[in-house]
């Protein structure tokens, strides 16, 4: 990154950064257009109803968005059902994983003494919990539980690891000035760990989104993008299935962008935010 001029750090290089941003957007639009053209050509070459062209996807999208699906649920109902489940489960994951990660990071003996309990759970994929979740829970609770499991470990582990990154000298600055433990937690530990927490949250969000679709595919409910896709797959209506897939990709992407935006605001003090 270029050195900033005196007076207004980080803001004086805005026009340059904006120019670069526009160029990047242009490149992305171009590559998207090329991908669509290749798709269209390939579909025409194959000429099968199981390989729809982009325009058919658009038609299916318009149909789903304006008239809803075969069961009478609108596309927005399906999307919102999935998003709500993810937000609730992910939120619970953050609420539990961050304090627990901080606690165990600050008291490594606590973690060392409970590893045998915690770690095996990490290696049970959330999807493997689906059968139990179907027995024990229904509705929103079932999904919130599964997504919680998917989001918890990435956030917990990165928080735990982040605490180890706290510089002893930064703690010492607090201690020599007579700071309390709480002050050090708030003003030294949390700012240091924050980038790791955010990185863990982005990984956790990815896992959460992955889990929701799998959980909805498993059935038992009438809404959700996964549900909608499986309905259309049974009818062998490929374009509608693909609409579901693309929406899942788009919503996941947008959620990640929101987290990145928050990161950029929070970490203005860093050289750059990694991808």
């Amino acid at each position: 990154m270029a050195a900033t001029t005196k007076g207004d750090a980080g803001r004086s290089d805005m026009p340059e950064a904006m120019g670069a941003g526009i160029r990047i957007v242009a490149w992305n639009v171009l590559s998207l257009a090329i991908a669509l053209v290749i798709w269209q050509l390939a579909s025409r070459a194959v000429g099968s109803p199981f390989f729809p062209a982009p325009m058919q996807i658009v038609d299916a999208f318009i149909q789903l968005a304006t008239r809803g699906d075969t069961t009478g649920h609108s596309l927005w109902e399906h999307s919102w059902a999935s998003i709500e489940r993810v937000l609730v489960g992910f939120g619970l994951g953050v609420i539990f994983a961050v304090p627990l990660g901080l606690l165990m990071g600050l008291y490594p003996k606590l973690y060392a003494g409970t590893r045998a309990v915690i770690e095996p759970f990490r290696f049970i994929p959330p999807i493997a919990w689906i059968p139990l979740a179907i027995i024990f829970f229904s509705g929103l609770t079932r999904f919130a539980f599964l997504i919680f499991l998917g989001a918890f470990f990435p956030i917990f582990t990165s928080t735990l690891v982040g605490v180890a990154r706290v510089e002893p000298i930064h703690r010492k600055v607090g201690i020599v000035h007579g700071a309390s433990k709480l002050w050090i937690l708030r003003h030294v530990v949390i700012p240091t760990v924050m980038p790791d927490i955010m990185a863990g949250m982005r990984v956790g969000l990815g896992t959460a989104w992955l889990t929701i679709v799998a959980a909805e595919l498993a059935g038992g409910i009438s809404t959700g993008l996964g549900r909608m896709m499986i309905n259309y797959a049974e009818l062998i209506m490929v374009p509608h299935v693909i609409v579901g897939m693309l929406l899942i990709g788009l919503i996941g992407f947008l959620m990640n962008e929101v987290l990145l935006l928050i990161e950029r605001r929070l970490f203005r003090w860093r050289w750059q935010v990694s991808l």
Partner: protein
Amino acid sequence: MHAPISLAKVDVDASHRYGPLTVHDGLKFSVAANEFICICGPSGCGKTTLLDMLAGILVPSSGHVHIDGTPANPKKHSISFVFQEPSTFPWLTVSENVATGLNIKGAPSDQVRSKVASIIDIVGLKGFEDYYPHQISGGMKQRVAIARAFATEADLILMDEPFVSLDQPTREHMQREVLDIWRHMKRTVIFVTHNLEEAVYLADRVLILSAKPARIVAELPIPLQHPRDPLSTEFTEIRSKCVQWLHASH
């Protein structure tokens, strides 16, 4: 600046060992209130351990480190510390960093603002208040750390080779600045350095430590007026006396 309210008088008579390793063996000295002393010694003589004891974050294995008659305690005594290594918080701006000590002490925000502004002016960081540490040079970061230490107007200021990472001109500049701040504010300063010239330039009194287990081998008062001229005969005489003691201490 304000007149000092509490006058930190330091009294050390301590031994410290880490397991079988004796770092200090009956280290005994005292520092008068408002005195500026420099401590010199060979590498690895336990200067950091000594400073940690003075800061009250390390309790000696035996003996005591008293400030105004009670054991050193960062929550009770007003102590500031300038570290050798970079110690600014990268997530805070220059002025937020300087305000850290004041915020810990719970100073009211308008008072924090005015004190931070005046100390930033003294250390020559005016115009850089809103910069983050990664945007300024190493020397400037160290000035931020020094400003942070002086902003609290602590009664006792401990400095652990604070200028070791600076180039010569910056170092000389900072030495003059620290003396200037000290003359403004009149605090007790204990300054650890490897550099004898620095010690003779700054201190009212220089203490020479021996190699481990460390004890005081010499106490040399520096009866020269500030600003001192390192090229004057009196200066070089005292300096060479220090060198002799330091060599004898090995």
